[in-house]
Symmetry: C2
Subunit: 510 residues, 2 copies
């Protein structure tokens, strides 16, 4: 039996495994500040890679980055009642602007109360909309297409690292368009952009589709999402794109003069993706030995570990390692410079090996004196860590052979991770339940990965929808989305018994 690097096993206790991997892979830690985490270099490095790749896509599609204030005056929220209602009002409120020495040492200065409280932005529709109303005059100004990278705060009662923290990092896009059609086109273009980010960069297969009415963003006319399946079968909403109709533009007076000189309210969109994606990467690609980072988002793609003994013989080993690293840096997997480091830290080689295994570096080389003599490398591929005997699978390659094949190897690891996850997603979406009783029995079974059901429904609204939501809630289920590429409906709605109009995914979720 293999003795894995982690204590917790994901098939036994997924939640404990998730907590352990975050520490073991050095991704993040609790900060001691309620609901806020510290992102450690390896975790933050993954975020920097995601930022870099997503930022390129955002700019290539004609959006410009800006930066809006962290604080939003309370009165801005009052304008958009539905929006605020939906946000459950759990926000961090700044009420004072000064501290003061007091008997306890240091306290809030009661004389420094703000006239109007400021809200730490939970999202920036209200403040960006206010700017849009100033910027937009004529149809010639349209579309407005902006994005910002920012921290936001939502006062979450139950937090979980990367998935739900009070403060998190994200990008939020905000655009304004002349009409419904072009705003809707933008909404769907962004959905496709998020799909491509998830699948092509993070190796996270996703289902794209529209959310049901009850799961819409507060104030939106339509919300689209990408939904990824974690190894415990739960869904992770990994990015959302909202068509806001004229709701925000009417509340905030975002209007323009059309070609005929008439004033028209713009149609706006907003969309965001966050550090939550890292939670998705962990729960999709992690195993019982730690994380496996897709090479495209790995802060370092190849780690070279010299087996040092603190002796003069170390010198040629280090030189050999540096030379390999230098040659690797001339290679361009995925069209970018290969990222490689030589880990020279003064620790035992096997400790360093396991530390990089837990972190999930895609390729790990161990170089000892014999490798130098034979001009070889000993290679561990993190996606196939063990051989048939349950031992760590070292592969010996000539130095040159390895250097020549490094890019291909990394690219094949990227697609192997995707294929593995894609297979899991496909295998665990079930299409054969046609009665509501089938839903109950399906999710009653105690499985490692219950997966999702794709069922037919009549798209109820209002009270009829509320009933559906209530029934699902009892089974801890929610609707995920209405897949864009699902087959047309042909039968009865499993909730109402009426003629079905489309298919919808249901499952448990984060």
């Amino acid at each position: 039996m293999i003795k894995h690097a982690l204590t917790a096993h994901r098939a036994k206790d997924f939640s404990a495994w998730y907590q352990e991997i975050i520490t073991a892979a050095d991704l993040a830690e609790d900060s001691g500040v309620r609901g806020c985490m510290i992102m450690r270099p390896w975790g933050y490095g993954i975020w920097e890679r995601i930022q870099y790749l997503l930022d390129q896509k955002i700019k290539e599609t004609g959006h410009e980055n800006c930066y809006f204030p962290l604080f939003i005056p309370l009165s801005y929220f009052a304008k958009e009642a539905e929006h605020v209602d939906g946000f459950a009002k759990e926000m961090a409120v700044v009420t004072h602007h000064r501290l003061k020495a007091n008997d306890d040492g240091l306290g809030v200065d009661p004389d420094a109360k703000l006239e109007e409280p400021l809200i730490v932005r939970p999202t920036s529709e209200t403040v960006i909309g206010t700017a849009f109303s100033r910027w937009l005059q004529s149809w010639r100004d349209l579309p407005l297409m902006y994005n910002q990278w920012a921290n936001v705060v939502r006062w979450e009662m139950r937090t979980r690292m990367f998935l739900r923290t009070s403060e998190f990092l994200w990008q939020e896009g905000h655009t304004a368009h002349a009409d419904r059609e072009s705003a809707m086109e933008e909404t769907l273009n962004i959905l496709e952009l998020y799909r491509s980010l998830a699948e092509d960069c993070l190796a996270l297969p996703v289902i794209t589709g529209e959310k049901s009415e009850d799961e819409r963003f507060p104030g939106a006319d339509a919300t689209y999402s990408i939904e990824a399946m974690m190894q415990d079968g739960k869904a992770l909403q990994a990015g959302t794109s909202h068509y806001l109709g004229q709701n925000f533009s009417k509340a905030q007076n975002i209007r323009y003069q059309d070609k005929e000189g008439e004033f028209q309210y713009a149609h706006t969109t907003s969309w965001g993706a966050s550090t939550r994606l890292i939670g998705g990467v962990i729960m999709t690609h992690g195993d019982d030995d730690g994380l496996r980072v897709p090479p495209l988002i790995a802060p370092q793609q190849i780690i070279i570990i010299p087996m040092l003994r603190d002796k003069p013989e170390d010198e040629p080993i280090l030189e050999y390692c540096d030379n390999i690293a230098q040659q690797l840096r001339t290679k361009s997997p995925f069209g970018e410079k290969l990222r490689v480091i030589v880990d020279k830290k003064g620790a035992k080689a096997s400790n360093k090996r396991w530390s990089w295994v837990r972190k999930g570096a895609p390729l790990i080389l161990e170089i000892g004196g014999r490798d130098v003599e034979a001009e070889n490398v000993s290679l561990i591929n993190r996606t196939s860590l063990y051989n048939e005997n349950g031992k760590v699978a070292f592969q010996t390659l000539s130095q040159q052979e390895f250097i020549d094949s490094a890019s291909t190897l990394l690219e094949s690891i990227q697609s192997a991770l995707y294929m593995q996850a894609k297979q899991r997603l496909d295998d665990n979406i079930h299409h054969d339940v046609e009665e509501y009783s089938g839903v109950e029995s399906f999710f009653a079974k105690d499985k490692v990965n219950p997966g999702w059901l794709e069922v037919q429904w009549s798209k109820p609204t209002g009270e009829a929808l509320d009933k559906v939501v209530e029934r699902l809630k009892k089974l801890k289920l929610t609707t995920r989305n209405i897949p864009q590429h699902a087959r047309p409906a042909t039968g009865k709605c499993i909730f109402t018994g009426e003629q079905a109009v489309e298919r919808i995914l249901i499952g448990r979720s984060y």
Copy 2:
């Protein structure tokens, strides 16, 4: 007489000119939220370039990026009394975590008061120090070298865009070392890194040196700065590097076991550079036609403006422009891909030209039908906008000639901007005042650029220093720093009359 693009002239009203250029160059605007600005795409694009270049330098010198919480519990500040005292306690305080519908519409929910107020970070020594105390165990863990890119908030009473805003963006580095020597080495390495960023990337010549005791960062044993000279002669402190000694490590228990097994307090450093640098770029390189952005930090280095008439003849012009852009993108000024755009917006070519002049794009091409026929380009170099007659200096070059020389041109603009500013700095530091009365008369003169004085002093401390500070304050002067490369002192201190020990810069400042 030249009719310049801006209404305000920097020689007449520098402050009005500064305000106007920020709007005219589309850098930033007031957000309506107290003391916070909106960074517009061109301004934010410059910040993205600065970030990119500085981030490389930070990583190359062995630092790793992480991310720490936005909120810091009040009690963390209470630990470091001197630090808090120095910060004047002007901070944004979060006291509640929920809003509630009330008679006015929406208000703060009094039932959602936090047990302990949270401070929006003004800087992160206290929260990062707390993490260091957990992370540091043994001498083997040292040095700890971290950096974060973040927003911070200081409740400023009088704000000014880029120079002093309540919220601003920066990077803050935090390191811990075994002893004074290695911490001091880090402090000075960073000073050099900032100098290189300013001079080599932003074309801002600076004086590096130690701040006098009264100008130190609260809680530091030594503060070093880079000081740049604006066109009105005022100094801008453009980056600071602090040796914190054991002050923070003792307050926060940052200690390690040395090789002998004894517990030792670490020596820590911190250092930061912010969006203030953009204010420095404006006030150093701006002219009465707008900004001039050094090519290395220009979001776009070359703008190609097709002269369109909304007719079929536009097609070959656009094609010609796109082709030039494509060829330019294969060039690598400064070792990076050249950044060029074709401005296809539907506005008059001359309006577009002036908009890019005001923004300060380094090279602007205007392409009309005749240029296409002759395979030429009409070129404006933003650093030499007018010819001798006071007309805009268009230069005609063959397409091929321009493409071949574009990289060299951009590189020469970068050094021309640096040389111009360097000349101004050198010309305006005066070394010949040897009596305090000379200081008074020197700064009494009404000059566009009074510049700085480099004077000899005895490095007074305590009350004697307080007196110096008071006297300077009456003239609206402060000490800037003790230049690293100043000549040794040879005479008397102009303040105390005692034997001088070093030379120090004094001047007005932002």
